[in-house]
């Protein structure tokens, strides 16, 4: 069978191939046909059609006459799958641990970040309307802070009494919780996981507050320090000095 007959019976793809690739394909087809010269006496190329029984038996090796996987193949596949799944779950577990650690650290840092805005809003106006009153404004104790400020009243202005909400605040540390009490109510927690709370006056108008926080549990796989601290200085404008007396004679 010459090349011209082959090209005439098998439709070559429309796209043009480089000359060397076209030659290679032709060589492959030639070699296949040469292995079974009797199966196609008509001269037609049937390489793409179902071979006859005799031809298939001649082509398939003896040991593979039945389709399926061997035991070794299955075991290998099982082993490979187990290894892959184990690796995947290990990776997922690591991610989960990191995620839990992140949660812990975020919780700790949220406390420390929330503390300043809450405390400043409660403490900064300490001593409001104190010049005509007798209460101290800021009282410091061991782990406790009392803030008194007459900043509201019936007419929207200080009325000389500490009866409105948040006018008489007590802040304390109890069981790793920072708790606040307004007036004579009960203490309510507002920050958790606080391990230390200290407040002291650096000057009459500058209050230093130091907070320590920690994660609620040990961080898995991390040896770093679980504790963190924040120091907050709050200016107390009602205690700032004036050139002239606040209460004129």
């Amino acid at each position: 069978m010459d090349d011209s007959r082959l090209s005439g019976k098998i439709r070559a793809p429309e796209r043009s191939l480089p000359l060397d690739q076209s030659d290679t394909r032709l060589e492959r087809r030639k070699s296949y046909q040469l292995t079974s010269p009797q199966s196609n006496p008509s001269g037609f190329d049937c390489s793409h059609s179902q071979p006859s029984r005799g031809t298939r038996e001649a082509l398939v090796p003896e040991g593979r006459k039945k389709a399926g996987y061997t035991l070794i193949e299955l075991l290998l596949a099982l082993l490979l799958t187990t290894v892959l799944i184990t690796a995947a779950f290990s990776a997922l577990q690591s991610v989960q641990i990191w995620s839990q650690n992140l949660d812990q650290l975020v919780g700790r840092d949220e406390n420390l970040r929330t503390a300043p805005i809450l405390l400043v809003r409660w403490i900064a106006h300490a001593g409001a309307n104190r010049h005509s009153q007798r209460w101290p404004g800021i009282s410091l104790g061991t782990g406790t802070l009392q803030v008194q400020s007459d900043f509201d009243g019936e007419a929207g202005f200080p009325n000389g009494k500490l009866t409105e909400s948040f006018e008489n605040l007590s802040i304390r540390l109890m069981k790793n919780e920072l708790q606040v009490r307004s007036g004579s109510g009960n203490f309510q927690p507002f920050l958790k996981q606080i391990t230390a709370f200290d407040a002291r006056l650096e000057s009459p108008s500058l209050l230093l507050i130091e907070l320590n926080s920690t994660t609620s549990t040990t961080l898995a796989g991390i040896k770093e320090n679980r504790a963190a601290a924040v120091a907050l200085r709050t200016w107390l404008p009602n205690y700032a000095s004036n050139l002239f007396p606040e209460k004129l004679p």
Binding site: D103, E110, A124, H125, N129, P237, L243, P245, P249
Partner: protein, 410 residues
């Protein structure tokens, strides 16, 4: 078929990883937004606080009669609920500070008729402090007598972060109020005002004391009338009586007593006032340098000294003080005794002069002798504008400071 299993496995793992990454990302974004929100609230509070300090710096030089009614001179009233606030809370939440135009000019400071209103101060990150003055609630809203004012400052900081991509702006807002008092205790009631037990005076015939609309020399009431007697006697001996002019006549001498028109004089008769003032004065004044400076300032010379150049502002001194060589004090000079005040060589005080012999204790003023020596052609001229400029060097007194919340009666 095996290729299909591989694809499913890869897609499964990729989906799990993607979900994990997205959850971590979402958590980080939430955390970031919360942190920015907290920082924004703190920033707004600080901006509001800054606005109070700016207003406090503005008040001493402000004209109280123009402050409450604003530039147009017409007080708009108190009908709106938040009339004391520069803007309402609701408006501040969505306001772009760059586009703020006050609904009313009442209480908005201004420096001149032509310039824009000064009730805003821009800070970093697009934030701003807006402030407005109003009268204290103990007085009518448009009439001030006690020089006590309420100033409210709204700190506005635009929210940052993902919320910026939304078609609206929600600001972090904080409102702070301060009660401030403009200090006018040293507003001179005469060109030369004396406070003491007795006096030792040496007057020159070339002296000029001109009170204009106020007395040439005023004497505050002391324990006895000895000071006034010493003054009259010394003027008679020197022949300088005609040089003491004021209120359209000469000699112009007057006993000054606290009254409705000059209520602040009463403070000067209190030892508590003087003790507080003298103990805090070193912290607020420039102690020694008297070099020429264009800006008015508050200076304190506890041991006296010599001034032979120009000074603007309010000068407080104790001990022997010499003004000479054409020295000019443009403002107010307060001499607290403990020595002699000497004016010579064409020295000029334009504004007002206080000469007080006091050594206050907890219980008494401790009036002592006042000593003045004037040689040659020295002049003491009352000038209300110079005196007011000098009083502008005295910081406004903080009487009260508080944070206001939207749920309060505003």
């Amino acid at each position: 078929m095996s290729r299909g299993y591989a694809l499913v496995s890869v897609l499964l793992l990729a989906s799990l990883s993607l979900i994990l990454l997205m959850s971590v990302h979402a958590r980080l974004v939430r955390q970031w937004t919360q942190v920015n929100g907290l920082e924004g609230q703190l920033h707004a509070l600080i901006a509001a606080q800054n606005g109070i300090e700016i207003a406090r710096a503005f008040l001493p030089s402000a004209d109280p009669s123009l402050l409450l009614a604003g530039r147009d001179g017409v007080f708009q009233g108190t009908s709106s609920r938040e009339w004391r606030n520069p803007v309402s809370f609701a408006e501040a939440m969505v306001l772009d500070p760059l586009e703020w135009v006050p609904a009313s000019d009442d209480g908005i400071p201004f420096t001149s008729e032509e310039e824009s209103l000064q009730g805003i101060f821009h800070s970093s990150s697009g934030g701003a402090s807006l402030f407005r003055f109003s009268n204290n609630p103990e007085e009518p809203a448009d009439q001030d007598q006690d020089r006590v004012f309420i100033v409210r400052s709204m700190g506005i900081v635009p929210a940052i972060g993902p919320i910026h991509r939304l078609p609206f702006i929600r600001n972090n807002v904080a409102l702070v109020e301060a009660r401030l008092r403009k200090e006018e205790a040293f507003l001179p009631p005469a060109a030369l005002t004396l406070l003491g037990k007795q006096g030792s005076f040496i007057w020159s015939s070339q002296l000029t004391i001109d009170g204009g609309p106020v007395p040439g020399i005023g004497v505050l009431p002391g324990d006895t009338d000895e000071l006034f007697s010493d003054l009259v006697a010394s003027l008679g001996e020197s022949g300088a009586s005609d040089q003491i002019r004021g209120e359209g006549h000469s000699p112009s001498l007057s006993l000054i007593t606290p009254s409705q028109s000059i209520p602040h004089i009463a403070h000067l008769l209190s030892p508590t006032f003087w003790l507080h003032f003298l103990s805090n004065l070193p912290d607020y004044s420039i102690p020694s340098s008297l070099a020429d400076v264009d800006e008015p300032r508050l200076a304190y010379l506890p041991d006296g000294g010599m001034l032979d150049s120009d000074f603007k502002g309010l000068l407080v001194s104790r001990g022997d003080l010499f003004l000479q060589n054409h020295a000019v004090v443009d403002g107010i000079l307060i001499h607290l005794g403990g020595g002699t005040l000497t004016l010579q060589e064409n020295a000029l005080i334009q504004g007002g002069l206080w000469v007080c012999g006091i050594q206050p204790t907890d219980f008494e003023l401790g009036l002592t002798e006042v000593r003045i020596q004037i040689n040659g052609a020295a002049r003491i001229v009352f000038d209300a504008e110079s005196a007011k400029r000098a009083l502008g060097c005295l910081p406004a007194t903080r009487l009260e400071w508080r944070i206001l919340f939207p749920e309060m009666l505003l």
